[in-house]
Amino acid sequence: MSSTPAALGPPQATLDRPARPSGRFSFGAWWTLFRVSVWQFVRGRRLLALGALFLLPAGLALLARYYNPRYDENVEATEEILVFYMIPQALVPLSALVLASGMIRDEVEGQTITYLLIRPLPRPSIYAAKLLAAWCVCAALSAVFLAVTLAAIHWGTSDFWGEILPKRAAQVSALSALSLLVYVALFGGLSLLVRWVLLFGVGYIVVFEGVFANIDFMVRRLTVLWYVRILSERWLDLHVSSWTINLSEAPSGEEALWTLLGAAVGLGGAAAWLFGRREITVKTPEGG
């Protein structure tokens, strides 16, 4: 769109100067960046695509309800497949990959990163604001659609309002949020290191969370899913034989929790440190 020059007002003559910012770290500045980052994620097209993906388990649950005459006998199996396999193993890491991989990259490619880097915010805190915003949006997304999926599975059952929706939904959402903390930190960091982060990320999800997590071998200790499953078995009193987890030998709930939190803090901290030291080159129109 173009406008006639006359549509613009002339500059004013005064140029009074405002109060200057103080010299301390401004939490208000950080909070502003966090809020705007959340808003960027929420209004992006990626969230719409993820929302459509997250509707898939609920859709499958509805199909099962209406086309399987013996659905009532298979409610638990349906929940197991959709809520404890499909969502945590595929959709949750995928949502983290899609949002976290773009949190810095989008700013660089859109050349808006300059507006962040020339502010009196330490670079690691810029990264932390972006990371936290990505995690909040992912966690909210998974919480909403976990509740929707549980509703699609259990709607009409006697304990739906008393047990399933308030309690079970909150529990699985909390576990999902915990795993997202690690995934967002992992994929955010990966996006600083590799160019084809989506490819690498999908590879990680398929190989580690999809294959290794299901093999009863040491390597599954490197997967997020294994710890989430341990927490599911210990805290939700869930027993899925195909997970092949021997609770007497597996880490305790606290150990699993601290492992996940430690991984998230470690990965996130390392990535923030890297972001703080890395030069970010923004292409200029003239290449000068």
Binding site: L8, P21, Y115, R119, P285, G288
Partner: protein, 315 residues
């Protein structure tokens, strides 16, 4: 090289600074002190102006040497960012924000508390003549509006040093006039402004003090008049278009200061080289009135920086 005349402590100081992008040199062993006030950073496209500004605003780390702004290290120094403002060259925004939201966002990122940020935003939008359009999405702004908005975000926190990377590029004449007025006023307030451009007359309209760089190296610094004096040691190239170019050429070769006349091969006209441009221009008005050689167009080829660098780099 023209020596700097200013003795005040420099606001921006480069000490033997080099910046490489792989095998490409952005800035090459640059030693330079920019004194307070308004300074034009001149250079052709690809000269290293943007690299200079990115180094000075701490976005890039020098491969070699030291960059200091206001006496402080520039690279990755958040506390310094309170005292500097940057209007970047790239035409990038959060397009979905309104102009007011964007400037307010930048003010808050700059550390201004909410109410102060709102008040500062309203004021700078007024200063750059954008109040009327401030509540529209930036995605619908014209180039001039976008440049004004970029300038507003750069000054909203009242920086001591303002870096402007090609701020007049692509603007219409009205926006250009307004932006020039705003930049000059900012300098009059005692702030330092470093303005990059590849157009000499753009910078001349704002400040007489210039730094010339080319291929990442300092070519000259000083008063723009000194640059022009340097240019005047060489024959000036002036393009004239008249109703009868051959007749005009015949008249011009008679003058002693004219060292060459060439019938221009492109778009008609003649190319004149003179060693005394003032004398030449002085008699041009008389010739223009003579019958048969009425002059339709006069262009000085020396106003473009390519010519300046031709003279300075290859004297």
């Amino acid at each position: 090289m023209i020596p700097a005349t200013e003795k005040a402590p420099p606001v921006v100081e480069f000490r033997g600074v080099s910046k490489w992008y792989g095998n490409v040199i952005g800035v090459n062993k640059l030693t330079l002190g920019v004194a307070p006030g308004i300074t034009g950073l001149l250079g052709p496209n690809g000269a290293g102006k943007s690299t200079f500004l990115q180094l000075a605003t701490g976005q890039l780390r020098a491969s070699q040497g030291e960059v200091r702004v206001l006496g402080r290290r520039a690279w990755n120094n958040p506390s310094l960012n309170r005292d500097i403002g940057l209007c970047p060259e790239q035409d990038a925004f959060y397009e979905w924000m309104t102009g007011r939201q964007f400037v307010d966002f930048c003010a808050r990122l700059g550390g201004l508390p909410g109410p102060v940020a709102r008040e500062a935003t309203a004021r700078v939008l007024d200063e750059v003549g954008m109040t009327e359009h401030a509540d529209r999405a930036i995605g619908g702004y014209s180039k001039g509006m976008r440049q004004r908005t970029k300038l507003a975000q750069a000054v909203v926190h009242d920086p001591q040093v303002l870096f402007l990377d090609e701020p007049l590029t692509g603007t219409d004449p009205v926006a250009r006039r307004d932006l020039v007025a705003i930049i000059r006023r900012y300098g009059e307030l005692g702030r330092s402004v470093i303005l990059s451009s590849h157009v000499l007359h753009e910078v001349e309209a704002i400040t007489p003090r210039v730094v010339l760089i080319n291929r990442g190296r300092l070519v000259a610094e000083g008063h723009v008049r000194e640059i022009r004096d340097l240019i005047d040691k060489h024959p000036h190239r002036i393009v004239l278009k008249s109703e009868n170019d051959r007749a005009l050429a015949a008249k011009l070769v008679a003058f002693d200061d004219v060292v060459g006349v060439e019938l221009a091969r492109v778009q008609g006209g003649i190319l004149v080289e003179t060693r005394s441009p003032d004398a030449f221009y002085g008699r041009l008005s008389r010739i223009a009135l003579e019958e048969g050689t009425a002059i339709e167009r006069v262009e000085s080829d020396d106003d473009n920086l390519d010519a300046v660098f031709r003279y300075l780099v290859n004297p």
